[in-house]
Symmetry: C2
Subunit: 238 residues, 2 copies
């Protein structure tokens, strides 16, 4: 049940790894992850990885049974990278401001990459979902963790009464994640952030409409309470 060696530290068949071995293995995975993010899994040869990681081919096959095993290590690596990167923001998702900050950070991050590459997990999923069952399972788990973090934030908002009881954190979390993935795909294709920003903003707008005790723009029967910014204004409870 419990593996003899911590994940990501063992060799391909459970052999022990020396400190140096761990470093080499990590270097290979990091190099492979970078290349596969930029050129896709199929577009990355073991030779490319070999050169980028400055190792010999025997080393590749010392640490990984075959290319498939390397790909799966990359999936695990990117899962941790994506979640670790968002960690500080994901733990503050329990408010509208926190959600907005998270969305802004995603937008800024991909702007910094000039819209090259989509979501590290999304592009792996698109390429591997129907090709590698093991990788698919890992990606399902990765998305579940991501989605869970978002859901927890929304659930906390609801528990605090900031979101109305009818708001479903589970469904909203799925929608936000889909907006990220779809928005990134369109943004990557168009090489413009607009689609990502718009998709996230729109879903956040929807979540705002589920906030408790709010004066909404254009309320029924009144044309005087127009809020130009479109941001709902909280009012005194009862």
């Amino acid at each position: 049940m419990i593996p003899p060696v911590p994940a990501g530290v063992g060799g391909q068949d459970g052999r022990r790894l020396t400190r140096k071995g761990q470093a080499t293995r990590a270097r290979i995975v990091a190099a492979a992850a970078g290349l596969m993010y930029a050129r896709g899994v199929a577009g990355t040869s073991t030779e490319d990885v070999r050169v980028a990681a400055s190792v010999s081919s025997s080393q590749l096959y010392h640490y990984f049974a075959d290319k498939n095993a390397l790909v799966r290590a990359v999936v695990a690596y990117q899962t941790e990278a994506v979640l670790a990167f968002q960690q500080p923001l994901l733990s503050r998702l329990d408010s509208l401001a926190g959600l907005a900050a998270w969305a802004d950070t995603l937008v800024e991050f991909h702007l910094g990459l000039h819209l090259r590459g989509g979501c590290p997990l999304g592009s792996l999923a698109s390429e591997l979902a129907d090709a590698d069952p093991v990788a698919r399972e890992a990606l399902v788990a990765a998305f579940a963790r991501w989605e869970g973090a978002i859901r927890d934030g929304l659930a906390a908002m609801r528990a605090r009464g900031e979101l109305r009881g009818e708001a479903d954190p589970e469904r909203l979390a799925v929608t936000l994640l889909a907006a990220v993935q779809g928005g990134l795909l369109l943004a990557q294709t168009r090489r413009e952030v607009a689609p990502l920003r718009i998709a996230l903003d729109t879903v956040l707008d929807h979540i705002r409409s589920l906030v408790s005790d709010v004066v909404r723009p254009y309320p029924v029967g009144s044309a005087s309470a127009v809020v130009t910014s479109g941001v709902p204004v909280r009012v005194e409870r009862h």
Copy 2:
């Protein structure tokens, strides 16, 4: 400006095609499209296409300069296929019922495929956006046509007064398209429709909240007008 031969009918360098030639070319593209949808572009060899289309390798290179050219033909083919498939629904997107019918059809279609493969255009985009500039341009145009059709429907709703003036058809269309792409990616990975259905439903909910003259659940200062279904109820104008 105007090509001498209709698109998809000419040979690789503008040579004339006989009726038979057109049929063979079409057979190759259709076979390639199917394989590339199922296994990805990189996962499909020219040999695979050769066999699936029942042609010799010389025929492949008679009609296409290289694999890249074939891939680009596949992009064009899938663009037409995706838009043609949705054609009857896209032209009726100018009402909430029309939007729901469109969403349901997408869900049902991919259920029929058992969630194997995502969006034909989306998966091509994910694989080609950063690899083939020409294909990327074509995909940008394809998404623009798709998004345009959705936008036109929403704009018609707004023009008829069904959507409030503040509703932005452009932004809503982008969000819907992102929901389709992201929802499909998650659905393909999980092999469950739920993510697609939830993402689309949630964005449609948001659009419902932008419908004119509506009694919304939990209006400010009243707890009596709760609508259990969550579906807004249209009321008499003024």
